[in-house]
């Protein structure tokens, strides 16, 4: 999992060797862990090793010398303890005895896993020494499937070649592409006929006429007819080729867009958390379009141009090699120039892209938050922010345009010079009688086209770079491996019971440990209430159970199977999720309710809405179930939206139900309505409910109190109250806070047995 460069690796190997010399013959190393920071937090290499009897450490020395201090060792006596903590990407392990701290080691989180293993091994060993038993060796969590954690290697790949990867999308259309290529060949050949005909037109007709001969009508008709035919053929062929290839490239673009979007949807939540909406939208929208235009227009033109150059050169050489040679002399110069400018342009265009998404990001930030902007009267500042982003965009563009604008005129200049050379050399050859005037005219006609093509070809540099930059950004998405990988051989999940076991689970978000060493068993059909301060890891735990993220350590099992062994979509089908902020998609209410099961019948939809206590208010809407609801469900109150989302969860009939602060965004009155809906939803399902208001959890079988990523208490409400622990404190604090009306509500809580009946409150 770690990526070590070779020098580091050899250093590590060196340490390994030196460790061997330290050990006594019968001693075995149980675990090692690389310490990569020294006391002053400089990068260095050291090692901590655990054997059956001792803990050995070689501290990293100061930064200058790569040598390290001698090995220190502490005999395991059952009293020594290791304490581990991490902060800001740096982990710390401290060794304590009963009286003081003996040593501190710090490491970057790259070594986290190893550190964890060492810690566990140390625990086992100490335990064994304390109890005087042989430790159970080799139980090193062998079942842990490491294959699941795909490491993200930063593989090198040259930027322009990224376009070749588009072949994956072009492959299905290879026959159409071949047809297009043949047509291109034919069309190009047809366009090369007219200049060739200028030779006989000059030499056989016009020049003899100037020298006093009569014009032969038959010949004139023949040549003019030839010109017309060539033009017509070129027209027809060009039409067919452009049509065929544009058709193909449009399809490639569409495939690319859909594939990217499909892939994007499969990525885990933390990808979306770290990307900005505007940027993602720009990538899938305009970048694919740019690639599309590149394929259908620029790449096509370029291919034609190359063909034309090759064919023209062949014709020119067949007429007169020397003149052909002179004609082609400017070509390498232009090629060289293109090469020089290429790099600058490419980086420039990439930069412009990034700046451009900065501009769209300002929009994507502000427009959804428009109410806040207006409420705080910050229109001016937002406008200023947009202006600044635009300004930056301008600056970057200006810088690039300086190079770019010089580029095209230079190519034109070279073209003119090239023509000049051909004229001069041509006149000299004519004067020596080596070629006819007709040949010179043909050459000029050919290279006139030839050089104009070169000019337009030089444009391919920039469009290729642009398309490559776009393709890179697309493939950035496509190459991103989901943090929630699909198992290679998924276990089928058909009728889960809903038993959930969490074994030593840990989760790190970036450098922050959010959940540590958590164990919890949930019986099928049990309702668990998760309580704790905000930031205690409740939502994270729920996200882990839903597999929006994967645990960093340990495992979550449903019905005894690690949830990483199920296909993600299969597994989630059995999970119903009701969130604090219900999200309604644009569409009718019926469509929103049936979101998780589009094939549901109308009867089922109505039944679900009834159970969710949403039926009545839906009927009050002018178009009933066919009423349209907007992006954020405008027109519906928070409670109404929530009940729709409850109906949505009910309809899929999940075995596991997760209520994440489902009622906290509404007033108490509405909460009661929702609560009634939830009571129907909870029946017979394994339910995990997070709630701020503890009254919401009155029906929970057990309450799990969390604090800073750990479970501190698990028991039913009454027992927790008796214990006077963390839950009691939370509860007391809340009772003190609530107003009279809520107090009445809360007062009922402990006595609750039968649901529904206790709503005497609410009559204001």
């Amino acid at each position: 999992m770690q990526q070590h460069q070779n020098p580091v690796k050899s250093l590590e190997a060196g340490l390994q060797e030196r460790l061997q010399t330290e050990l006594s013959p019968a001693e075995n190393v149980l675990a090692t862990f690389p310490v990569d920071l020294n006391a002053s937090l400089h990068f260095a290499q050291g090692q901590v090793a655990l054997t059956e009897r001792r803990l050995l450490a070689c501290m990293p020395a100061g930064q200058a010398s790569s040598g390290s201090t001698p090995w220190q060792s502490w005999a395991l006596d059952g009293v020594l303890v290791l304490r581990q903590s991490d902060h800001g990407g740096v982990g710390t392990i401290e060794l304590h005895d009963a009286h003081q701290r003996l040593a501190v080691w710090r490491y970057t989180l790259r070594a986290h896993e190893k550190a964890q293993q060492l810690l566990q091994a140390f625990e086992r060993q100490s335990e064994a020494i304390r109890t005087g038993q042989q430790p159970l060796r080799d139980e090193l969590d062998g079942s842990e499937d490491d294959e699941d954690f795909g490491s993200t290697d930063g593989q090198a790949k040259p930027s322009t070649w990224v376009l070749l990867r588009l072949w994956r999308f072009a492959h299905p259309y290879r026959f159409q592409l071949l047809l297009g290529f043949v047509l291109t060949l034919a069309a190009t050949a047809a366009t090369l006929v007219p200049p060739y005909l200028t030779i006989p037109l000059m030499d056989d007709i016009l020049i003899p006429f100037q020298n006093g001969q009569k014009i032969e009508n038959r010949l004139v008709y023949m040549y003019l007819g030839g010109l017309l035919l060539a033009a017509l053929a070129a027209w027809g062929l060009n039409w067919a080729r452009t049509y065929v290839l544009a058709l193909v490239s449009e399809r490639i673009g569409a495939d690319l867009r859909t594939t990217t979007y499909e892939h994007l949807l499969k990525l885990s939540l933390d990808y979306f958390g770290s990307k900005r909406t505007g940027d993602l939208m720009a990538r899938i929208g305009s970048e694919t379009d740019r690639i599309n235009v590149f394929l259908s227009l620029h790449a096509l033109d370029f291919a034609t141009d190359v063909l034309m150059i090759v064919m023209t050169s062949a014709i020119l050489f067949s007429i007169n090699p020397w003149l052909a040679l002179v004609t082609l002399v400017p070509l390498p110069f232009i090629a060289w120039m293109i090469h020089v400018v290429r790099d600058k342009l490419r980086t420039g265009f990439e930069k412009i892209d990034r700046v451009w998404s900065e501009v769209t990001n300002v929009l994507a930030d502000t427009i959804p938050g428009i109410r806040v902007v207006k409420a705080f009267a910050q229109e001016k500042r937002e406008a200023e922010r947009f202006r600044a982003a635009n300004q930056h965009n301008l600056e970057v563009n200006d810088k690039l345009n300086r190079i770019w604008s010089l580029f095209t005129p230079t190519v034109s200049l070279l073209t003119e010079i090239g023509l000049l050379v051909v004229w001069a050399f041509g006149i000299w050859l004519v004067s020596r009688g080596q070629i006819t005037v007709g040949v010179l005219t043909a050459f000029i006609a050919y290279i006139g086209r030839f050089y104009t093509r070169l000019d337009s070809m030089s444009r391919i540099v920039s469009v290729t770079q642009k398309a490559a930059a776009g393709a890179k950004r697309i493939f950035d998405i496509l190459d991103h491996v989901s943090n929630v990988p699909e198992p290679a051989q998924p276990v089928a999940i058909t009728h889960p019971q809903g038993r959930i076991e969490m074994r030593n689970i840990g989760f790190r978000y970036g450098s922050r440990t959010v959940i540590r060493d958590l164990n919890l068993d949930i019986r099928p059909g049990e309702m668990i209430g998760l309580v704790g301060h905000s930031g205690s890891g409740k939502s994270t735990l729920v996200n882990l159970i839903s597999r929006f993220y994967d645990v960093t350590d340990g495992a979550i099992r449903v019905d005894g199977t690690d949830i990483r062994r199920f296909a993600v979509a299969d597994y989630r089908r059995h999970i119903g999720l009701v969130l604090q902020e219900p999200f309604l998609f644009f569409g009718t209410i019926a469509e929103n309710i049936a979101y998780g099961r589009p094939e549901a019948t109308r009867d089922e939809i109505v039944a679900a809405a009834r159970a969710a206590h949403a039926h009545d208010f839906i009927l009050r809407l002018p178009q009933g179930y066919d009423s349209l609801v907007g992006e954020r469900g405008q027109g519906l109150s928070g409670g109404e939206r929530q009940r729709i989302s409850i109906a949505r969860a009910l309809l899929i009939d999940p075995r596991i139900l997760i209520l994440d602060e489902a009622t906290s965004a509404v007033d108490t009155e509405t909460e009661k309505e929702i609560q009634k809906a939830l009571d129907n939803l909870v029946l017979g399902r394994t339910t995990i409910a997070i709630a701020h208001r503890l009254s919401t959890l009155r029906k929970a079988d057990r309450l799990v109190v969390m604090d800073r990523g750990r479970v501190v208490e698990v028991d039913p409400h009454d027992e927790l109250m008796e214990k006077k622990g963390a839950y009691w404190r939370l509860y007391e604090a809340q009772v003190r806070r609530v107003d009279a009306q809520d107090l009445e509500d809360m007062g009922l809580v402990p006595a609750v047995a039968a649901p529904h009946s206790e709503h005497p409150a609410g009559q204001a």
């Binding site: 937090l41 400089h42 593989q155 930027s159 770290s274």
Partner: protein, 157 residues
């Protein structure tokens, strides 16, 4: 200079022990800067092991003597923000990309997960780069880097 209404000492376990004016003792307090980037010398909180603030130092600059030394020692051992001095190489210009860098804390490498992990501070001159492992690297001034490093960096900005 403001008088502090607490005392701070270090116990043999290496923990900071805070004693408040009313005699309450907190063992194992950790100093935390409130504005580590914008104003590192203002607002240092001493957070107790239960995660709540035990004492607040409005201005670290106003504190002197052993208390300040203790706070700074502890901060120094917790704050790990290597300053990037030179980019040696990057494996690719598309992310994820592994960077070989020279920092004020020695040579190292890290994986840049995405371009958005580069945070621009103070009008684009200062950069804060978050690595995949969660370490934050700082480029104090982009213009102070050598040309080759700037060129590599430019490709990501």
């Amino acid at each position: 200079m403001t008088a502090l209404d607490f005392t701070l000492e270090r116990n043999p376990f290496g923990r900071l022990v805070l004693t408040l004016a009313d005699g309450t003792r907190h063992e194992g307090v950790t100093p935390v800067r409130a504005f580590p980037v914008a104003a590192p010398l203002e607002g240092v909180s001493l957070v107790a092991t239960d995660g709540h603030e035990a004492a607040w130092v409005p201005r670290l600059g106003d504190v002197s003597g052993p208390t300040r030394d203790l706070i700074e020692q502890e901060l120094a051992s917790r704050e790990f923000v290597p300053h990037i001095q030179r980019l040696v190489s990057v494996t690719s210009f598309s992310t994820p990309s592994t960077w070989q860098i020279e920092t004020d804390r020695g040579l190292t490498q890290f994986v840049l997960k995405g371009e958005e992990d580069i945070r621009r501070l103070e009008g684009r001159r200062k950069l804060m780069i978050a690595s995949e492992e969660g370490i934050h690297f700082l480029v104090p001034d982009v213009h102070a880097l050598d040309k080759a490093s700037r060129k590599l960096l430019e490709r990501f900005l």
